[in-house]
Symmetry: C2
Subunit: 617 residues, 2 copies
């Protein structure tokens, strides 16, 4: 065992579960039936006595049940999500029991085209019925039920695994507590569909395909049939899994030994790399499985199936974490984002993360993306597992959550004592209101308002550090730039929108104000007043751009790109039909407070908190 | 003829030119020889008596000699660059004589794999020698020479045609006056190479390929051999020609009639569209030609061939226009840009345009990209053709250029009278200096400085309108954002860098100042002074963000995102080892001028022109 790392789940043994089916067989969504259904799966970690700690991992297109650990001491490569699953890892097997199964129609143990049809004794081949993502999910559910489990602590999947995770959340809302979706979308893009179409065309055009009945009599196995076609399809698909930059790195040009004009081989590094990927793939995957599973993937389209994305997500009850990867052009961020947007517009609890990644779609396999681990760990509330472990030798999920809550509850309300402007916000917010905090940082204000006012809060934040803070506090947050982020939020979604010391930082302040009052009924806007006597005096007497506690940056590196005074703000509101309901002028000096008291707020206020609504003042 | 539009070149007749070859045959770069070389070509417009008005159009991958016009009155589709070539179009056949030939190794008349080898009487098939882009260009040159032409007014090409245009400019610098490159790069990207590799693999794996000797005995023709493989390769390639958005528009989902699970057909719009493209393609293109030409394209790599891109472009003498398309992911803008950068760093005359386009790589075919026409028209100095036409019934290129020059010379120097700050710039600039004008607008200042000081000027500008203005004035310009544009410019490239009223608009003013003094020895910076008495008074007495002639915007929509005073500027220079060599303080009021004269420039100046260099003041 010396070679197996300590943070691995170690040696695992795949297991088979035979789903009890009646004489009619196992029903598929198409109406067809499978005469039998066997599911190969693996388990990592221990099932708790309450059976409440199961995380179901959904395998993407060509992956199998082997998500973590090793099959033997000699096994050179670990499971496909090894970086994420194990003791001390993001999906921590000290607390969670992880289950992963081979997908229906696959070729690694679960019933698929190369399985023997018990009715004929021969491999299914061309007679294997076409399936949908729903069928794959239903097979997983049969396994989960068969294992005596009635609720999943979480379901997680990347890419096509994300399709399955979404289906779980949509179709079996009572069964799922949390849902983790990585690098996935609500359907394939036109481009991705195009590549799939070509890939399948290449396989079925291979003369060795023989309409799918290519298995050597009596010994169906991977590695038979349209090997050449499958290789080309895989090479093609593999290009789409990598970012342009990642492909560029493979480009070692003109290896003269491998250049062969008569065979049109350039000898480029890309060529060699893709050939290697193609050769490796056909050793482990069956062409019929590839055809069936990609076909299921291509037909997944939540908008088409449910009438609209709004309708699709309307029944979701779990908390959702949705991560997209910047350089993923197969499941592109602007499509992935729609999942979060529609969940938000359905008033579901969703956190959306936009990760900067150079790796393309394959980044979801996490090898070089430790950020994914950090995010998932916090989403699964494991960030205080070490403390909980000290209190109990074998902490349960309940122990863990209690520890977590105790730590955060202790600190949360201090914020109203530390920040005058936040104390003002607390007074204004009505109990139970829906609140959007723009530029919410670590979510501290939302957490505190939830504790003191019972609000339903959502944050919007640009920086990953803030997002991680929100995840620690269980504050749902959308990672977005304020200049764009509100566009997809439905009108009248919130009772209050908070914008703290940020209006002067955005590119288009007026457009943002309008957007804020479109999505929210009222807004609480705080800003530094460039008209304060300190600022005016600074410019007048020093002849330099003023710096102060509220304006701490130098002119050339300040994020405050649109400075304005209280009177500028008032003018704008008057002109744009924005109603100022209340103004609170804050100053750190007695002179400032005196000037405010004397009716000269534009001269006295260093910071202003304005409550605004729609319509004329 | 009623159906043929008036702005078409009309009916054209392809011609064949037999290149005279000795007994050794036509030499290829590989050392091999072709026993004969026949080139099919078309001509649009009339050759001038001086034979100085020829524009050679280089055909991309699968296009042929038929770039414009129609082959008969019944002909339904025009040549492949019809939107660009014709009387009154961007490449105006009233003034230019356009020649386009079918590429070597093609299948539309020029010698290629399906031509008969005169030595054997049989089609070449597998015996056709492998070729490079150089060989295609040399074949074009043999044609041009054979037609008695010794100089090209311009060579133009998009995509692989751009490879050929670059080769002309590099290898035959004396032959080319202007070079137009659209949607091209100095080599294929790793991603593009990957797709090519897969495409060729699919074709050669088709059993009908038969090592390339698939022509029906005695009757070689397009439409024979590995038709299925060629179809798939074309479908794959076609996806890469379109942007993701363009593919999305093809996505009409679930045409139930065309859905066929047993054949793994989804019935999606993308599927039908690609099938149509594949079917159409194999009717007009030969698999061997596709293999040979893509192989030549894949092996094109200027950096590898010449040791560096710097070396590759070092002999270029012509004026270059390089256009990239924003949504082109096959020949991506960041790679295309390198052409312009290396030409600039070689001190060549280059204009670089970054066009916003939703169409992807195929945008270079211009159908929906009228901007390409506007740009090329100005680059070819045709913008005053109508005036020249009034002076001479049949204007020559010389007439045209004389008209052009007369119009611009008349207006250019007025700028020094209209703008005090420009007059100051004129005084500072030394004759013959290399000058970079950042945010150069329509290039008026560079044009005027060229006329009065004989400078070698280059502009940098963000907006297309400005770029078009520069092209009208023959001012070379790079379309770029100042926050990024300088990164690729070599140090010490310029004697002077001019930055007019723009420092306050950029995101990182200090970084830009540093970059300016890296690429230029001295800089002339003009900026509005936020410390002027008018501004200070405005803020002090009105309590609002000041607006003035020099600061005309409202606070919330101003592009001036980093306001500063003269003293702020001085402080920054002192701190950052920037030497202020001279300061000119401008004011529109007598009080301002008085204050400046009284030694209070920070109070008096409304606008400042600073001459700065490297090192402590």
């Amino acid at each position: 065992m010396s070679k197996i790392p300590a943070d691995s789940v170690g040696i695992v043994v795949p297991q088979d579960f035979r789903v009890p089916v009646g004489s009619a067989g196992w029903p598929l969504k198409s109406g067809a039936h499978l005469p039998e259904l066997v599911i190969r799966y693996e388990v990592y970690g221990e099932l708790s006595s309450k059976r409440d700690n199961v995380i179901l991992v959904c395998a993407p297109l060509t992956a199998d049940a082997h998500a973590a650990g090793f099959h033997s001491e000699q096994d050179k490569s670990a499971g496909w999500w090894e970086p994420l699953i194990g003791p001390g890892k993001a999906i921590d097997t000290r607390i969670y029991c992880v289950i992963c199964s081979n997908n229906l129609a696959g070729c690694r143990g679960t019933t698929g085209p190369l399985s023997r049809n018990p009715l004929t004794g021969k491999p299914y081949g061309s007679s294997f019925p076409s399936i949908l993502i729903d069928d794959m999910v239903n097979a997983q559910k049969a396994l989960i039920e068969g294992l005596g489990i009635r609720k999943l602590a979480a379901v997680a999947g990347g890419s096509m695994g994300g399709f399955m995770a979404m289906k779980w959340a949509i179709e079996y809302p009572d069964w799922v507590d949390r849902c983790i979706i990585i690098a996935s979308t609500t359907r394939l893009s036109g481009q991705a569909l195009g590549f799939e179409t070509v890939g399948r065309g290449i396989i079925t055009a291979d003369p060795a395909f023989d309409s799918g009945d290519y298995y050597t009599d009596g010994r169906p196995a991977v590695g038979q049939g349209p090997i050449e076609g499958l290789k080309h399809a895989r090479k093609l698909a593999h290009i789409t899994y990598l970012s342009a930059l990642a492909m560029e790195r493979k480009l070692v040009r003109f290896d003269a030994d491998k250049r062969d004009p008569s065979k049109f081989r350039t000898g480029s590094g890309v060529e060699g790399y893709l050939n290697y990927q193609g050769d490796k793939f056909v050793e482990r995957f069956d062409a019929n499985s590839y055809l069936h599973i990609t076909w299921a993937m291509d037909n997944f389209d939540l908008e088409h199936e449910y009438g609209s994305l709004r309708a699709a997500f309307s029944n979701v009850q779990c908390e959702v974490l949705n991560i997209n990867l910047s350089s993923d052009w197969l499941f592109p961020p602007h499509e992935s984002r729609k999942i979060s947007q529609e969940l938000l517009n359905n008033r579901k609890v969703v956190t959306s993360v936009e990760l900067d990644s150079p790796y393309g779609h394959d980044g979801f396999l996490v090898e070089d993306m430790p950020e994914i681990s950090s995010i998932i760990q916090r989403f699964l509330e494991e960030d205080h597992l070490d403390i909980a472990s000290k209190q109990s030798a074998k902490p349960s999920l309940e122990n863990l959550r209690a520890t977590h809550e105790a730590i955060h509850a202790h600190e949360a309300l201090q914020i109203f004592k530390d920040r005058k402007d936040f104390a003002l916000v607390e007074k204004v917010i009505t109990p139970g209101a829906r609140v959007l905090d723009l530029g919410c940082g670590d979510g501290g204000l939302i957490d505190a308002l939830w504790r003191s006012r019972g609000i339903q809060g959502v944050g919007m934040e640009k920086d990953l550090k803030g997002i991680l803070g929100c995840l620690e506090r269980d504050v749902p947050v959308l990672q977005a730039d304020l200049d764009q982020g509100l566009a997809q939020v439905e009108s009248d979604s919130f009772d209050f929108v908070i914008l703290n010391r940020t209006l002067q930082e955005v590119r288009q302040p007026l457009e943002l104000l309008r957007e804020i009052l479109r999505v929210g009924h009222k807004a609480i806007i705080s800003f530094p007043n460039f008209g304060s006597y300190k600022v005016r005096g600074g410019l007048l007497f020093n002849g330099r751009m003023p710096m102060s506690e509220n304006l701490p940056h130098q002119w050339h590196n300040t994020p405050n790109i649109h400075l304005f005074t209280l009177d500028d703000f008032k003018d704008l509101c008057a002109k744009d039909q924005i109603k100022i309901e209340a103004l609170h002028c804050l100053s750190s000096s007695w002179l400032g407070r005196f000037l405010v008291g004397a009716g000269l707020p534009n001269l006295g206020a260093e910071q202003v908190v304005a409550i605004v609504g729609r319509g004329q003042s």
